[in-house]
């Protein structure tokens, strides 16, 4: 079973601060995705990374896939209260099954 770990589990910061959350595994994934889940909603895809070393930017969010395709990071610049939510990473294994990490719960205080 391929497992994903995420850190930190919880993060509370002030508006305007920068932050990085991490997703790690001992397994190689063919692709890795980041989702954000807001209360009462299902997770929504933010980005998919496929190539080792790949960096993708989505406004204030920067996603990086590790060279060995086992880990990823999400960096948020100048966090805003609207960024509050549960950030989940998910790996797509060769069977095209989605394996989710436990998530990082982010709270951005105004």
């Amino acid at each position: 079973t391929q497992l994903l770990e995420q850190s930190p589990q919880f993060l509370s910061i002030q508006e305007g601060e920068n932050l990085t959350v991490y997703c790690n595994s001992s397994s190689v994934f063919s692709s890795l995705q980041w989702y954000r889940q807001e209360p009462g909603e299902g997770p929504v895809l933010l980005v998919t990374v496929v190539t080792g070393g790949e960096v993708k930017k989505l406004k204030r969010l920067t996603f990086q896939f590790g060279d060995a395709r086992k880990d990823s990071s999400l960096h948020i610049t100048a966090a805003q209260p609207g960024d509050t939510g549960l950030y989940l990473c998910a790996g797509e294994d060769d069977g095209q099954n989605f394996v989710f990490g436990p998530g990082t719960r982010l709270s951005v205080l105004p």
Binding site: G42, L45, T48, G95, F100
Partner: protein, 115 residues
Amino acid sequence: GAGVSQSPSNKVTEKGKDVELRCDPISGHTALYWYRQSLGQGLEFLIYFQGNSAPDKSGLPSDRFSAERTGGSVSTLTIQRTQQEDSAVYLCASSLMGTLNTEAFFGQGTRLTVV
């Protein structure tokens, strides 16, 4: 439909009763997933369907849990003799098979409360 639809959105049941949760995936999506999310937690994988078959049932927590999918579309997750620890949000997702970079589209979930 335009998105993944789950019903009911909320279900309160007495301990020991059976419940049936329904998921209507996006039309044309052959992969369907069930996850469970306890309060404040991440997603716990339950079961995965490719078409009507379930190649991975490893996440079902006990034999009280079962799921089926007919016609490659609607899926039902059945929990028999519910227990209080079954209380959680049950999320369904679907995706398009056969391609890399497939996105899992989630429903809003069914919030199950066992009293």
